[in-house]
């Protein structure tokens, strides 16, 4: 039997970003005991990096806004393959979740009459993002963290879950290791909430941190739960590209929301050249109108720079491929030009985009109030994830819930900026609420000793092979290069087939990975254990992307460049077949109630 410590909680929440913290707060408010586990220290999860804001139809800045408009915007952005029930709940509940943050101490920027200020963002018809300069995520995570620490939640920091434990088909706990001493930990619980975030580390250029290895996706998949929409990966149009060491770091969309424009090497605002049909009526057709929109003129339509991210990214790739890129292989994003339009422009930019100013100044020696930035697409977010029930967030495995980026449904084929921070609050809360309910009605299960032993044995195998084995970091780099080249922004069948072969080869290398030293805070060992998740989600993305033989949202097929209505009615579900292979099945999207259909029609 492996050596381990045991902890027992009614509800175990895995992940302490916005979704996990909100779930833990809700569950503990419902009167059950809650454990919260995270790979990093508390408050360092990805949510801390979010910049632009939280989307919620508060209608503080434009009173024409309401949940119906937000719902319709989310569905249009997701190209109608979203889980419409989630999109509905999200649009309806986001305003309350934002107000609740204020009641817990968050300090948002204000309107002139003292209410929460909202800003423009891509794909949102009205100014909708509640924000704090460009550090909204920090405000959110700190508010939740500072509220949560007084709720009696047991926090297990720097602890990584490597497997979920089941009893008679139900999830009854989780098993992992803590980084500090490298010891194993067993968590017994009546319900588990996954809130582990995304998968960006499967790609070479990404805005995501080391934590984003798709662990929650993989834990769920290995436990027999279904994943959905894994072909939809969001490549954010504006990542830093120069100098090389900062490649991929995000440049917030708020730059464009505040009036920033995209130009190619010829100085042209190329975004005007191609405006998708379903957005034409809402998009400005001249620069003047676009500028007025960013300055709050309600009669103006938004500039094409604020079209959805999938579209903007592809236009950037088109310019670069056509030889109209910037010196380091991107295009230009210019906010400094607004100085010609507003008094005190330099100060205004620094005030509205303080951390962008700071980031470029410190990391690239560039003053964004004086010069354009060079930017290019970066892997940012995954729309796909654990398939859940829209109301309760329970996966297809009883007792296993998922919320936030690791769950799927709300975003469909493309996520609108700002919809993640609202998603994690709305569905974090729901997951916590229903997990607590489930825990109250259920009893603890039995832990299968063999499952534990097996997981522990696999985890320490890399030490047996020692430093003579494969280097975990090199395997990870090889995977990132391959996914970037073969399953990136522009995809084709032959390339993705090659990626599947490549994944087989990498699996073989993964099994040979060796680690030296001991188990205490051993980064090499941690990297070795992350590989299983990275390979699993990469395979799920690739297989799903092969099946969707059309282009939609974040998924673009050069061999099927158009949208195909036949694919507009279904999602691709990923699950483990009885023989252990990954299988992809088609799941028809349930019919939308007439009421919601009418809303979409009305808002067209």
């Amino acid at each position: 039997m492996p050596d381990y410590q045991t902890h027992e909680h009614d509800v175990l929440v895995i992940g302490a970003g916005g979704a996990g913290l909100r779930a833990a707060i809700e569950a503990s408010a419902a009167g059950v005991s809650v454990g919260l586990v995270c790979k990093s220290l508390l408050g360092k999860a990805h949510t801390v990096m979010a910049e632009g804001g939280i989307a919620a139809a508060l209608a503080n800045v434009d009173d024409r806004d309401n949940w119906k408009v937000h719902f319709a915007d989310t569905m249009r952005g997701g190209q109608y393959v979203n889980n419409w029930r989630m999109a509905e709940l999200h649009a309806k509940e986001a305003p309350d979740r934002v107000r609740e943050l204020e009641a817990w101490g968050a300090v948002f920027d204000r309107t002139s009459d003292g209410r929460i200020l909202q800003r423009n963002f891509g794909g949102h018809r009205y100014p909708r993002l509640a924000h704090v300069g460009d550090r909204t995520g920090l405000e959110m995570i700190r508010t939740l963290q500072d509220h949560g620490i007084h709720q009696g939640i047991d926090v297990h920091m720097e602890c990584t879950i490597i497997t979920l434990l089941k009893d008679h088909g139900r999830v009854v706990g989780a098993f992992g290791y803590e980084r500090e001493r490298g010891r194993f930990k067993l968590f017994k619980s009546k319900a588990v909430v996954l809130a582990t975030g995304g998968v960006g580390r499967a790609y070479k250029i990404t805005s995501n941190s080391w934590e984003y290895t798709g662990d929650g996706h993989t834990l769920a998949y290995d436990a027999g739960a279904e994943l959905v929409d894994m072909e939809f990966v969001q490549f954010h149009p504006t990542g830093m590209i120069w100098p090389p060491s900062v490649r991929g770091i995000l440049v917030t969309e708020a730059v464009r929301g505040e009036g920033g424009v995209l130009r190619n090497s010829e100085g042209r605002r190329f975004m005007f050249e191609e405006i998708p049909e379903n957005y034409r009526a809402q998009t400005a057709d001249n620069e003047e109108e676009g500028w007025r929109y960013t300055q709050g003129d309600k009669s103006a339509r938004r500039p094409p720079e604020l079209l959805t991210r999938d579209h903007v990214s592809r236009c950037i790739v088109r310019e670069i491929k056509a030889g109209r890129g910037s010196p380091h292989g991107g295009v230009f994003l210019d906010i400094s030009w607004i100085k010609a339009r507003i008094p005190n422009g330099t100060e205004h930019i620094k005030k509205k985009l303080p951390s962008m100013y700071h980031q470029f100044k410190q990391l690239a020696d560039l003053d964004i109030t004086q010069e354009p930035m060079e930017i290019g697409p970066t892997t940012h977010y995954i729309m796909g994830g654990v398939r859940v029930d829209g109301d309760t967030q329970m996966s297809t495995v009883p007792g296993l819930f998922a919320a936030g980026e690791c769950a799927a449904g709300i975003n469909g084929a493309n996520r609108l900026g700002g919809n993640s921070l609202s998603d994690i609050l709305v569905f974090g809360k729901r997951a916590g609420e229903f997990a607590a309910k489930f825990a109250k009605s259920g009893k603890s299960g039995t832990i299968d000793a063999q499952q534990l032993e097996e997981a522990a044995r696999r985890a320490i195998e890399p030490f047996d092979r020692g430093t003579g084995g494969e280097n975990a970091y090199q395997v990870q780099y090889a995977l990132q290069d391959m996914m970037h080249d073969l399953v990136g922004i522009v995809r084709t069948e032959p390339e993705m087939q090659r990626a599947l072969d490549g994944l087989d080869a990498l699996r073989t290398r993964e099994r040979r990975v060796g680690v030296g030293g001991h188990r205490e805070y051993n980064s090499g060992w941690h990297a070795a254990l992350d590989l299983h998740s990275l390979l699993t989600v990469s395979e799920a993305i690739t297989r799903s992307a092969i099946e969707r033989r059309e282009s939609r949202g974040g998924h673009f097929r050069e061999d099927y460049p158009d949208k195909d209505t036949a694919f507009g009615t279904l999602n691709f579900v990923v699950r483990k077949a009885p023989d252990g292979r990954m299988e992809i099945v088609r799941a028809p999207i349930p019919g939308m109630p007439q009421e919601l259909k009418n809303i979409i029609e009305e808002m067209k």
């Binding site: 999860a45 990096m49 300090v107 980064s523």
Partner: protein, 250 residues
Amino acid sequence: MAAERATFRIWRGDAQGGTFQDYPTKVSEGMVVLDAVHQIQAEQANDLAVRWNCKAGKCGSCSAEVNGNPRLMCMTRLNQLDLSVPVTVGPMHAFPLIRDLVTDVSWNFEAKKRIKRFKPRPPDAPDGTWRIAQGDVERVQEFRKCIECFLCQDVCHVLRDHQMFDAFIGPRHLVYAAALEMHPLDTENRIPDLKRAHGVGYCNITKCCTKVCPESITITDNAIIPLKERVIDQLYDPVAMLFRKLRTRD
């Protein structure tokens, strides 16, 4: 600075002991110290322990001492350093070492819990919301920029040299307390705690914390001094006596 080489002298060891070890590695334009540490970890020292998350100065994970100065490794560019001599990279000094560049900062999380939580006044509007002027918001937003890197805690002599973790919550948590005390909606009174349990009097305004704060929070002038003033106003605090006490311990 194209494809030069530089040597990084990195602390390797744990609570039992350790040494600085030299790692020569390639360096290129735009690199930060964290890039070099990662490169060394991937190529020469797989088991090197280091914390990081965002690589953009936003999460406060990668705190360390670079050439003896408390810094975020991800925001310290190599072109700010003299690469003709080895660059030393060590863990934060004030906290117990776990391994290599990773220290045990858990005390910070415990200390924070002891500060009384936010307690808002009743909502201003019937819909349960408040009205706050942007000007009032800005004052506390400075404090709320804190990324909890704990570099200010690391450099503060009360914690670093005197290890007075039981008596003094340190600059980070004074910033936190100031953010709550000056929050436009808050109604709690933390002044008695600040004086006694949190030990605000131990700060003798050396401003070392302000100098290292990567978020440029004016910790001493804007957070600590106003708190000290409130303590005096509310409780008549014999500050001078505390200073004397501190000096006799030196």
